[in-house]
Symmetry: C2
Subunit: 445 residues, 2 copies
């Protein structure tokens, strides 16, 4: 008999949903991890003879899933969570969000807001976030501090902010941040032009060129409201998506955020270009933007992944909620109770997001060779009892509060519901200070 193979960690959950292959729930299987990588997914009996683990985590009431991938957020906006709810979109932006950003957004604001968001996301089983905001250095610093995987947006807008003067300045600063964080294994960078209505043709052309040169993904808000579309037709004679196609954006495997209002031709065009949708159902409902036609998208082989959007328009960075809302909204808007089933929701919250970010060989499923981004969810509590289908429970019954363990790259970040990052308390004190500043500026409007 061969001597047992040393591994760092052996996890033995009650159930395991690897996401690849699709719609499979394994029982009595183990995951072996070494050097941050998944070494094997195999029956527990096999694992026990084959591996000599330095550490073992038994999860007798739990389902183990891949770390959740949040394909669209503005992490730092967690500091504006609930600052102005139940307002129409333009009043919300003009009276609350933009003035607060103009007054307070800074590297410190972004660092603290991103730390707060990262902690919330880790607690809820999100191990990778695709972020879009200002001050990418500060965001990168925050994600790096708590040990969460992130794709940092190199945001581009034509108008000046405290952060940058013009599109060229945004690009320069974003690329400089990307250079500084090279070698930080959990961080990547993506171009993040804000939206068709805030970025010029010239800037888009420059971004397309750079995206091809550097191999960076591109993500942007697109077709979020009907207003955006009618305005584009009025000003440049084309729907935003047609303009982007003309400018070559779709050839970058574009991540189209929201995509609430698409006709069938546009869905097929995005699918043909291997683009992805970052569907943000809660934000789309809360801001009354509409319901993205995800059943049709999937039927036309257009990839649908999920995002939380920022906490200012959600107000939770909670991918369990997004899975549930994507499923419920798809069912009620199509009249088909079988639309977007639980396994589809799980794929959209994991592998689909990883693929959109071109990281499907690294993360998004529990498969040997991938990074050990893993999440354990306990289904032992009364509100999760009985349990006929763990996948169904993850989407319809459980919540992020049932997440007990989170590993990123094989390293524990949450253990027995407890965050292992040590500076939570000081951060929450700083959040209270930000709250006081923000409240004062809001009441002085």
């Amino acid at each position: 008999m061969h001597p047992a193979e040393p591994v760092d960690l052996l996890i033995t959950p009650r159930w395991l949903i690897p996401v690849e292959p699709h719609a499979v729930t394994l029982e009595d299987h183990a995951v072996a991890v070494r050097n941050g990588r998944i070494v094997a997914v195999c029956p527990v009996t096999e694992a026990e003879t084959r591996f000599a683990p330095a550490e073992r985590t038994d999860l007798p009431d739990h389902v183990l899933i891949p770390g959740l991938v949040n394909l669209h957020t503005h992490a730092a906006m967690s500091l504006m969570r609930g600052i102005a709810d139940d307002l129409p979109l333009m009043r919300w932006l003009q009276e609350a969000i933009w003035p607060a950003e103009a007054k307070h957004a800074s590297a410190d604001f972004v660092r603290d807001g991103t730390l707060l968001a990262a902690i919330e996301m880790l607690h809820g089983g999100i191990t990778c976030a695709n972020d879009m905001y200002f001050y990418p250095d500060a965001a990168a610093d925050a994600f790096s501090q708590v040990g969460m995987r992130a794709v940092i947006g190199m945001t581009v807008i034509e108008f000046p902010t405290g952060y940058a003067a013009d599109a060229e300045d945004y690009l320069r600063k974003g690329l400089a941040a990307r250079d500084r964080w090279r070698g930080e294994g959990l961080l990547r960078f993506a171009f993040a032009p804000h939206a068709p209505y805030t970025v010029s043709d010239a800037s888009f052309e420059r971004i397309v060129q750079l995206a091809h040169e550097l191999g960076c993904p591109v993500h942007m808000h697109l077709h979020e409201t009907t207003h955006e579309i009618t305005e584009s037709i009025a000003t440049c004679g084309q729907r935003p998506l047609a303009r982007l196609e003309r400018l070559g954006l779709l050839d970058t495997d574009l991540i189209a955020v929201h995509a609430v209002h698409l006709d069938l031709h546009e869905i097929e065009t995005l699918a043909a270009h291997n683009c992805s949708i970052a569907h943000c159902p809660t934000s789309n409902m809360k801001l009354a933007s509409g319901a993205a036609p995800i059943k049709t998208m999937l039927a036309r082989d257009l990839r649908v992944a999920l995002g939380t959007d920022g906490a200012a328009s959600n107000n939770r960075l909670d991918m369990f909620q997004e899975m549930r809302h994507a499923a419920l909204l798809a069912k009620v808007t199509t009249g088909d109770a079988s639309a977007f089933d639980a396994h589809e929701a799980l794929r959209s919250a994991t592998l689909a997001g990883a693929t959109a970010l071109r990281m499907e060989n690294e993360i998004g499923s529990i498969v040997a060779g991938k990074a050990a981004d893993l999440v354990a969810v306990s289904l032992a509590s009364p509100e999760c009892s009985p349990c006929f289908s763990p996948a169904s429970h993850l989407v319809y019954a459980a919540g992020r509060e049932h997440v007990t363990h989170v590993w990123v790259d094989g390293k524990p970040r949450i253990r027995d519901n407890t965050l292992l990052w040590q500076h939570n308390k000081e951060l929450l004190q700083r959040v209270r200070v930000w709250q006081t500043f923000l409240k004062e500026s809001a009441s002085s409007q």
Copy 2:
């Protein structure tokens, strides 16, 4: 100076939302409780000189709200949570729910299922449920055991089940149960004819007569699907609501459950008759029934309260979720981000339900003289930080997992997140046995 007035309990939360008056958030206020009743709601400084409390509960990071009222559930169906998801409605009923009920529904099934549901509801701040199922004696026993307020449905259907032979038998058994539980202060009874398509004109007329004689509320499923309406027109030449109006049902202050498909005239008719809607947004989305027009209902002064429906079609008995879903669904279906704001959601989850049940003088708001059904929610965690508006956080950011304390009739049921009922463990063991039985019958289909 007068000697201090003895009270049983003084609660001092950071914030207090009494629901009456509407849309008010108090700070630095206390609630004094004696003999299960709210004695006073007043500033802490006043309370500290005026009252000598036997016990004091300080809640420095919490918002105190009235106990949530779940206006529609089938509590015992928690045993079928997630047994068959993502199926069209008729397949769900015919292939999963009805065969399981036919085989397993019994007094023991209902007692254990209702216990499980009651525990879940109490943990989530629900202090009163309006229940509709079979074996009302067993349901009453369960709610009574855990000390939760409930209105037990005296269900009526024309067809036979293991529980009763015909409509007359259902009525007789329901009324006998009502007699047996008379004097149990937390329990009331209501007539619960299942739906227009399962109850005859003769039975409806009998129920109307009895409801007037006994002063019992009536609640029933109504206009849940378009199929129900077209079938009624085909078989009796009237929409279901018109038939109920003809039979006198609307004169009982009817609680119409779901009411997804109503025209403007029907909304006005229900409002004119002082009826109430039990809006169940999650169930309506999950079963793809549609979105009830609650913005229009409220504009026409038709009372809208919230219900979870049963756990088999939700799959959570979670009124925080229903508040959030009611708000989000109203916004996205009307295109108005200001529709159904946070305070409206809170009222619909408390006082509106109490009023529908004719219990608005007893529960539903934090007002002197009412029963002390109270819920404390902690807003200290990262996912609830910062906090600009406690009401907004209750609807959009917090969840039932943030409920820390629950009192029913002044008695503690949950303290520091812990259920004080002692038989949780044995119950969960019995639930596992039921799960095995149900699974076997499901796989033998």
